[in-house]
């Protein structure tokens, strides 16, 4: 790249490519790029991934003296260090390491010399692989296949897409970008080595970042070959390894981020500091939709260390020397707020309104299903089963409260913090500050959890810091208190549902679910049972709250409804819950295998100790099928304690089993936590809960001591791993409690059903 005087000029066709080219296969295009190329051949088009200006820009950002860039994905330094740039944020799900494994395996790189960095928050790194992955859900598979990758890349930059979510990193970015880049760069290194050694490529082998010619014993390190290889064209459709050739994919590789997380050296967004930086904290209108009426700033300014009070339309910010001083200043203020006309909003009122909507709406807002449910319900000789369920708003409770640092200087707003989509963070900040996107720089940092809370579109702290930073000459870090975090969430929606099924000869002939909540789950959460007539009807209900994605999104509540009700139907049929599910799943299919695997591992049907109940559930989300068994007992105070938990998972291929197990077990525990005690409730339009005292998170003593996780390597397309462990947990718990006590829990959370 260093030798190319004009990296913006690429030659996409074949003419000027160097002599030793990767082989062409079928109708493929290649690109020849001086120094920077990345190409993904999806389908027969095999066209561009990034356009020339994006590539040049990316190269300028990640390349450098002695470092040779390959597209927007990786560099090889002359000391053999391979740096992989992840467009995804890693907030603990381990995808950085897994993405590195995928690329390094195809590259035959020495894993000890591979590092994984966060891609800069620059348009050049917009994630085309992600657009490609999600496209079928927007346009249908067929149409998606007809859109050239160059256009997809442009779409990714225009969105702009650098998001982390939808359990997408491995499914899309890993499979599409990382593996192909690794393979294509390896091919270019081979070609370069063949030229240098004057031998045929077929006589060369690669391993541990070295190309070797066995006949002569000569070898060249990747670092020696990088400069030349980076000048070569990259194949659009390189030959990928078969699973038996994998050395890193599928292996229990240690995560790269963990050492800094055990010695306190990892710097999260909230830890960031600058000379002369001030710290601010905020109080927002207690009722969502309300505004600041009035405030006398004097009491805050009288607190030692407080420097400034800033009024926003719906919030007050106190800026001080440190967080404690800012908090003391804020606490000293008498704040008056309006309620935006939402004073009548309450948790019971929302449930009542949802019930009424489901019963009286002329038609649903969305509908999915097959067959004639009403005819089946009316058929002679059927037994009808009905049940109503309710689940509350849920708080994400990421352990790191929101914190974002901003500094406006010389016309540029620079931000430091952890957010899920670095590119749209810039766009949102620019809009709030009245700047052009080019005037905003965002430095992504490590995040202390996210679980869906850090999607920039719903993150108000971006706007708050953008406005704040423009009003002060120094850098300012705004930190939300836990109380503000709990009371101003973008919650998993409060939701309710009525289910009905008809049974004949122990078989479900039809099933219907009517559910009321803000978001539509049709097209997102698949219905997995082979039942002749099914119907799911969505009734859109919006309260004054902002509903957002919460780990596994709609699969949590839809999974709870469906899988609780399957147990109720099994009970009505006098059948065993496992066998009943089994016979309603396609014979020999992936779902049945997953269900069988968890039943086998848990010893389903074997006698349990006195006072222990067992429950099962299976949910598919993000292309991954997870079945779980939970065993529960009651403590002296009558509250549940989880004794054992099991999960079986089919996510196609497991990239890093060590990390995948942690994700599934963690998801299961978060699901149990939410079912057990978590609820955000509303009274007079405001959130009642305020901190972990009244929003209890499951602790170690009540969590399963061990979660046994089995993976089924089906070879199906790679599914997500960060979210799908969660949805089966809450119905498995409710089913276990019903088995133990005979009492069916239809309203969550378990511990405070009275609130519903």
């Amino acid at each position: 790249m260093a030798d190319n005087p004009n990296p913006d000029i690429d030659l996409p066709e074949t003419g000027d490519a160097p002599a030793a080219k990767p082989k062409r296969k079928g109708i493929k295009r290649r690109i020849f790029l001086a120094g920077s190329a990345l190409l993904v051949g999806g389908g027969i088009f095999g066209v561009w991934w990034t356009d020339s200006s994006a590539k040049a820009r990316a190269t300028s950002l990640i390349g450098g003296e002695g470092k040779h860039a390959f597209g927007t994905v990786m560099t090889i330094a002359e000391d053999d260090t391979v740096t992989v740039f992840s467009p995804h944020i890693d907030f603990g799900q381990g995808s950085h390491t897994a993405l590195g494994q995928m690329l390094a395996d195809e590259l035959d790189a020495d894993w000890d010399k591979v590092r994984i960095d966060q891609a800069p928050a620059d348009m050049a790194f917009a994630n085309a692989a992600l657009a490609k992955g999600f496209l079928p859900s927007m346009t249908g598979e067929f149409a998606a296949g007809l859109i050239p990758d160059a256009v997809i890349g442009m779409m990714a930059r225009s969105m702009p897409l650098m998001i982390t979510g939808g359990s997408s990193a491995i499914r899309f970015t890993g499979e599409v970008a990382m593996r192909r880049t690794g393979a294509a760069v390896r091919a270019a290194l081979l070609a370069e080595a063949a030229d240098r050694l004057g031998v045929s490529e077929s006589e060369l082998t690669t391993a541990n970042s070295v190309v070797t010619h066995a006949k002569t014993g000569k070898s060249l390190r990747y670092g020696e070959l990088a400069a030349g290889a980076a000048e070569r064209s990259l194949a659009s459709d390189p030959v990928l390894k078969t699973p038996d050739q994998w050395k890193l994919i599928g292996k229990p590789v240690f995560r790269r981020d963990i050492p800094a997380k055990v010695d306190g050296s990892a710097v999260y967004g909230i830890d960031f500091t600058l000379p002369d930086m001030r710290v601010a904290t905020i109080a927002m209108a207690p009722v969502r939709g309300g505004k600041l009426d009035s405030v006398d700033e004097a009491p805050a300014l009288a607190v030692k260390g407080v420097e400034k009070v800033v009024k926003l339309p719906d919030a007050v910010v106190v800026i001080a020397k440190g967080y404690w001083q800012a908090k003391k200043g804020l606490d000293a203020l008498a704040l008056k707020w309006s309620d935006g006309g939402n004073a009548a909003v309450s948790t019971p009122a929302i449930y009542a309104a949802q019930d009424k909507l489901r019963q009286t709406a002329e038609k649903p807002d969305n509908e999915g299903g097959v067959g004639d449910v009403d005819a089946a319900f009316g058929a002679a000789g059927v037994k009808l089963v009905e049940a109503q369920y309710r689940v509350p708003f849920l708080h994400h409770a990421m352990m790191e409260p929101f914190a974002l640092t901003g500094h406006f200087k010389d016309g540029t707003l620079t931000l430091w913090g952890g957010l899920q989509d670095p590119l749209s963070t810039r766009v949102k900040a620019a809009k709030a500050a009245g700047l052009e996107v080019d005037q905003v720089v965002f430095n992504p940092m490590i995040m202390g959890g996210g679980f869906g809370r850090r999607f920039p579109d719903l993150v108000e702290i971006i706007d708050q810091v953008a406005v704040l930073a423009k009003q002060v000459p120094y850098p300012v870090k705004l930190v939300w208190s836990r109380e503000e975090e709990v009371r101003h969430g973008t919650y998993r929606p409060q939701s309710s549902a009525g289910l009905k099924a008809s049974l004949k000869d122990g078989q479900i002939t039809a099933m219907r679910m009517d559910y009321a909540q803000s978001g539509n789950a049709e097209g997102e959460v698949p219905f997995i049972y082979a039942i002749p007539a099914t119907s799911r009807r969505h009734y859109a209900y919006q309260s004054n709250q902002i509903d957002g994605p919460w780990r596994s999104v709609n699969a949590t509540q839809i999974g709870f409804y469906t899988e609780s009700f399957m147990d109720e139907a099994a009970a009505a049929a006098g059948a065993d819950p496992y066998q009943f599910r089994r016979k309603h799943l396609a014979e020999g299919g992936r779902h049945q295998k997953v269900l069988d695997a968890v039943a086998k591992r848990a010893g389903w049907g074997s006698p349990l100790p006195e006072g222990v109940g067992r429950g099962i559930a299976i949910v598919e989300s993000f292309d991954t099928i997870v079945a779980e068994v939970v065993e529960v007992t009651l403590k002296d105070d009558g509250s549940p304690r989880i004794v054992r938990a099991f999960a079986a998972v089919d996510c196609g291929t497991t990239i890093n089993p060590l990390n995948a197990e942690a994700q599934i077990a963690g998801g299961l525990i978060m699901g149990l936590s939410s079912a057990m005690g978590e609820a955000v409730t509303l009274d007079k339009g405001a959130v009642v809960e305020s901190n972990f005292g009244d929003y209890p998170i499951l602790k170690l003593a009540d969590a399963p001591p061990v979660v046994e996780v089995d993976f089924i390597d089906s070879g199906a397309k790679t599914g997500g791993i960060g979210e799908p462990g969660l949805p089966p947990a809450s119905p498995a718990l409710a089913n276990a409690l019903a088995a133990l006590t005979g009492k069916r829990i239809r309203n969550l959370p378990v511990l405070t059903q009275a609130k519903a």
């Binding site: 603990g92 306190g264 990892a266 030692k304 404690w324 790191e400 399963p704």
Partner: protein, 172 residues
């Protein structure tokens, strides 16, 4: 020169002396400032985390004279003359990880990692108190919140500690 100590706004403050990870420190702070914010904002030691501010989550756990302490809810004036150990102080003088930290890596405990400083401090205090703990002792002592749900690996790491060399003698 005025007599006494003043902060940058010219207001009088009190100098409070204690030690952090074996080093003596003296901070100019108001008496009610929680130890957490003195560590983070005044001393720039950010390994100790803010999670809730009400001693409910344990992310801010440190040792004060060897006892596990939730630093968000202890005024710095109570710390005068005492010895504070934070996550940054667990390694020995040669930079070798404490056996609990090593066990955390071996069991691949952290996910987001934000709560893990506090979890490790709690585990170190437990192991120093009882040696090899029982499951019941782990249940009782490990009351810190982890939203990622790393509890099974936390338990495993603690049970594994006996398998690691005590290579951080003198630490914590």
């Amino acid at each position: 020169m005025k007599d006494g100590n003043f902060n940058q706004w010219g207001k009088p403050t009190v100098a409070i002396a204690f030690s952090v990870n074996g080093k003596p420190v003296s901070v100019e702070a108001e008496a009610d400032t929680p130890l957490l914010w003195v560590l983070r904002d005044d001393l720039g030691m950010t390994g100790t985390k803010f999670g809730c501010g009400i001693a409910a989550c344990g992310a801010c756990s440190v040792h004060v004279d060897g006892a596990i302490t939730r630093s968000c809810s202890v005024p710095v004036s109570d710390i005068a003359g005492k010895a504070v150990t934070t996550i940054e102080g667990l390694k020995n003088a040669d930079g070798v990880l404490h056996k609990v930290q090593a066990a955390w890596i071996e069991a691949q405990v952290p996910q987001c990692g934000y709560c893990q400083s506090g979890q490790i401090m709690a585990a170190v205090a437990l192991i120093e108190a009882v040696g090899t703990p029982t499951d019941a002792q782990i249940d009782e002592a490990m009351s810190n919140i982890c939203r990622c749900g790393t509890y099974p690996r936390i338990r495993q790491a603690i049970l594994n500690v006996a398998g690691f060399a005590a290579d951080a003698e003198g630490a914590a």
